[in-house]
C-alpha cells in the first residue's frame, strides 16, 4: 500500500468507529443527524468535494457526483445510517480496487524486469558502474556472473552460460564464448564476460522489447473499444432512468415520494461502468504480459484478440519450419567408402564459401590439408573442378556430370545433390538438405487441434523439396518456387478464402518477408532476437524460433478473451439484476454498492488470471 492508500485506510477505520458509536447512541432529531454526519464527512468529504468541483468543470455524470447525490439523498430521506454505510462501503471498495490495480501493475512490471540498471566498465584497472545510456558503440563492458547483460555486443573473452528465459521463455541456458553475439536482457550465469558493445542502449534488444510491450496497450482491441463506447452511454441512460423512476410513478400512480426517490438513488449507485472499464483492458494487459513471459511479444490488444480468430495459417518454409541451414543428410558412394567420397568433395570445395561447400566441410569435420589441393576452379552454375592429390576431381550438379561425360545416377532423396567424379569416373553423390525443426510437426498438429482450418506453406524452394516438407509436416497446401512478390500475391488469394470474421496469420523469419508480414491480418515473426526488420514489421514476435509457440500464443489469446467475456457478462448481469430489483423495490443500497465496487473488485481479480500462463505451456 502506498501512502495515499494508507491514509484512506485510517480514514475508513476512524469513520467506521464513529459510525458504530452513532448506531449505539439512542439520539433523536438534530443530534442524531450530527452523530451520523461526523463519520459521513470524515469518510466522504473528498467525494463530495470532487463532485462539486467536477460539476464546475462541466462533468455531470461523474462517479463522484453520482455517489454524492445518492448518499446526500439518503440523508434527506432521513436514512442516515444507510447514507453513511453506502459511502463507507464505496470508499472501502475504491481502496480495494486501487490496491488491486496497484498490485497488478506491479506484477506486470516485474515481468518486464529486464531493464539493466548499470553497466560495468574498466577504468584504470578498476570496475566502475555507469548508466547503460552512457556507453558508446565500441566500448568494452564487463558482465559478472549473476548480472544482466546491459547492452548488445560481441564477447571478447570469457566463457559462460546465459540465461535467456526472461526474453525467450526458454529455460535452457545458452553457452557463449569469444566471438559470439550476446543480447541485452540475458542473465550471465557462470563466468566473467568482457563484451564489446555493438549497439547503444536505446537500440539494444532490451530497450526495443520494453518499448514494444509498453506501447502495446495503445492499440486497443475491439472489445475494449466497445466497452469505452458502452461506458459513454451507460451512465447517462441509467441516470435518466433514475430521474424517471423518481418522478413518474409518484406523479401518475400516486404514493410516497420517499420510496421512489430511494429506488432512484439505488440506480445512481450502480451507474458507474467501472468494473468493465477497468477489468477489460486489464485482462488484455495481463494476457500480453503473460505472453511475453513465454517469449511471445504481442504488439497490441487488437492482435491478441485477433489471434483467437485465426483460421488460416501461412508459413514460410526456410527459417520458419526448417532451420534454414544446410546439412549433409545422405552419402551415396559408388565404389569407394562414404568417408572417402566426403573427403574428395570437401577437398574439391575447399576454396569455396558457398553454403553447400560449407556444409560439406562441416560434415567432413576434420581439418583439411590445403596442400593436397593444387588447382581449383569454380564453374558457375555447375560446381567446382579441383586437382586433389594430382587427380582431377569434379563436384557439382548433373549438368557438370553430363559435360565431363561421367555416368551419373539420380537420387531418390529430395534436396540439393552434389555429384562427385574422380578423373572422369563417377564416384557417387552427396545429398544436402535443410533440416525440419524438431517441433514443427507437433506445432502443426497443435494448431489443427486449436481449430485452424487450413495450414499453408509458401516457399521459394523447388517443388520436390517443398512438397516433401509439407507432406512430412501434414500441411494442407504448399505453393513452391515463389519469389517474394509471389508470396504477397498468394497471401492475397488466401485472404479471399477465409470467412468474414476469421483471420489469416503469416509466420515468417523476417528475412525477405516484411511485405507479407504486413499484408496478413496477423504477421508473426519468429527467431526475432536481434532482427530489427522482423520486430518492426510483425504484429507478434516469437523470441525463440520454435513454431510451437504459435499454438501457445493462440491459447493465451483464447484464455484472455474468455476472461473478458466472463467479466462483461458477470458485471453487466449483476448490474442489470440489481437495477431490476431496485426498480421493483426489492434491492437496497447495500446490494447496489456491491453491484458497483464489489463487482469491480471481483472482475479485477478475474482479469489477473490472464497473467498466469503456466498451465498453458505445460499442456
Amino acid at each position: 500500500m502506498n501512502r495515499k492508500q494508507k491514509k484512506m485506510l485510517l480514514r475508513i477505520i476512524a469513520a467506521a468507529a464513529l459510525f458504530t458509536v452513532a448506531l449505539c447512541i439512542p439520539a433523536e432529531g438534530f443530534l442524531r443527524l450530527l452523530l451520523f454526519l461526523a463519520p459521513f464527512a470524515l469518510v466522504g468529504w473528498d467525494v463530495l468535494w470532487r463532485a462539486v468541483r467536477n460539476i464546475a468543470h462541466g462533468q455531470i455524470f461523474d462517479e463522484n457526483f453520482l455517489m454524492a447525490l445518492a448518499t446526500v439523498g439518503a440523508f434527506f430521506l432521513g436514512e442516515y445510517p444507510e447514507g453513511v454505510a453506502v459511502m463507507l462501503f464505496y470508499q472501502i471498495g475504491e481502496l480495494f480496487q486501487s490496491y488491486a490495480v496497484g498490485r497488478s501493475r506491479k506484477s506486470i512490471a516485474s515481468l518486464m524486469d529486464i531493464r539493466p540498471d548499470y553497466a560495468n566498465i574498466e577504468v584504470n584497472g578498476e570496475l566502475k558502474q555507469v548508466d547503460p545510456n552512457e556507453i558508446a558503440v565500441g566500448d568494452t563492458i564487463v558482465v559478472k556472473p549473476g548480472e544482466k547483460v546491459p547492452l548488445d555486443g560481441v564477447v571478447l573473452d570469457g566463457v559462460s552460460a546465459l540465461n535467456t528465459s526472461a526474453l525467450t521463455g526458454e529455460s535452457l541456458p545458452r553457452d557463449v564464448q569469444p566471438g559470439d553475439n550476446v543480447i541485452s536482457g540475458c542473465i550471465n550465469q557462470s563466468g566473467l564476460l568482457r563484451i564489446r558493445v555493438n549497439r547503444v542502449f536505446g537500440e539494444s534488444t532490451v530497450s526495443k522489447i520494453l518499448d514494444l510491450v509498453e506501447n502495446s496497450s495503445s492499440k486497443k482491441a475491439k472489445s475494449e473499444n466497445f466497452i469505452t463506447k458502452f461506458a459513454r452511454y451507460y451512465t447517462p441512460v441509467v441516470v435518466i432512468f433514475a430521474a424517471l423512476l423518481a418522478l413518474l410513478p409518484p406523479l401518475f400512480l400516486g404514493g410516497g415520494w420517499g420510496d421512489w426517490v430511494q429506488r432512484a438513488l439505488i440506480f445512481l449507485v450502480i451507474s458507474c461502468p467501472c468494473a468493465l472499464v477497468i477489468s477489460v483492458p486489464l485482462s488484455f494487459f495481463g494476457g500480453i504480459g503473460g505472453a511475453s513471459k513465454c517469449g511471445i511479444l504481442v504488439k497490441g490488444s487488437n492482435y491478441l484478440e485477433a489471434l483467437a480468430q485465426t483460421e488460416l495459417i501461412v508459413f514460410d518454409k526456410t527459417g520458419t519450419l526448417t532451420h534454414g541451414t544446410f546439412r549433409v543428410t545422405a552419402i551415396h558412394p559408388d565404389d569407394i567408402s562414404e568417408s572417402q567420397l566426403l573427403e574428395f568433395a570437401a577437398l574439391a570445395e575447399h576454396y569455396s564459401d558457398h553454403p553447400i561447400s560449407l556444409s560439406l566441410k562441416a560434415a567432413y569435420g576434420q581439418p583439411l590439408d590445403a596442400a593436397r589441393v593444387t588447382d581449383s576452379e569454380e564453374l558457375a552454375g555447375r560446381g567446382v573442378r579441383a586437382v586433389v592429390d594430382g587427380v582431377t576431381v569434379y563436384a557439382g550438379n548433373d549438368k557438370l556430370m553430363k559435360e565431363i561425360g561421367a555416368a551419373w545416377r539420380d537420387c531418390h532423396h529430395t534436396g540439393t545433390i552434389v555429384h562427385v567424379a574422380v578423373g572422369s569416373r563417377y564416384a557417387g553423390h552427396i545429398v544436402i538438405s535443410d533440416e525440419i525443426k524438431a517441433d514443427a510437426a507437433d506445432a502443426v498438429r497443435a494448431l489443427k487441434k486449436q481449430g485452424i482450418r487450413k495450414t499453408v506453406m509458401l516457399t521459394g524452394d523447388s517443388k520436390a523439396v517443398g512438397e516433401q516438407v509439407a507432406q512430412q509436416l501434414g500441411l494442407d497446401a504448399v505453393y513452391t518456387q515463389l519469389l517474394p512478390a509471389d508470396k504477397v500475391e498468394q497471401v492475397e488469394k488466401l485472404l479471399q478464402e477465409k470467412t468474414p470474421r476469421g483471420k489469416l496469420a503469416f509466420v515468417g523469419d523476417g528475412i525477405n518477408d516484411a511485405p507479407v508480414l504486413s499484408r496478413a491480418d496477423i504477421g508473426i515473426a519468429m527467431g526475432a532476437l536481434g532482427s530489427d526488420a522482423a520486430i518492426e514489421a510483425a504484429d507478434v514476435v516469437l523470441m525463440d524460433d520454435s513454431p510451437s509457440k504459435i499454438a501457445v500464443a493462440m491459447k493465451i489469446s483464447q484464455k484472455t478473451l474468455r476472461i473478458v467475456r466472463q467479466n462483461i457478462v458477470f458485471a453487466l448481469g449483476v448490474k442489470l439484476l440489481v437495477l431490476l430489483l431496485g426498480a421493483l423495490g426489492m434491492a437496497n443500497m447495500w446490494e447496489a454498492v456491491f453491484a458497483d465496487v464489489g463487482v469491480s473488485v471481483i472482475a479485477i481479480l478475474n482479469a489477473m488470471r490472464a497473467l498466469k500462463t503456466k498451465n498453458i505451456i505445460n499442456n
Binding site: 496497450s217 469505452t228 472499464v277
Partner: protein, 72 residues
Amino acid sequence: MKKQFKMIDLDCANCAAKMETAIQKIDGVQDASVSFFSQKLTLEAADDRFDEIMKEVVKVCRKVEPDCTIVL
C-alpha cells in the same frame, strides 16, 4: 509526431477513457490513447502545432480529473 507522456495520479479508469475521448476531439490530434495501466498518454499530432496542442491536452485533462498531472 508521436510522443509519450507519463501521467501521475491517474486513479480512475473511467476518467482515462473520458480523457482519451476529449483529447481525440482536439483539432490537430491524429491519434491519442490514455492507458490507465501503464499510466501513459500517447499522442500523435501535427508537428508544427504540437506544443500548442499539448497545452490544450493539459487543459482538457485537468477538466476531467484535476488531481492528475501530465509530466511534460
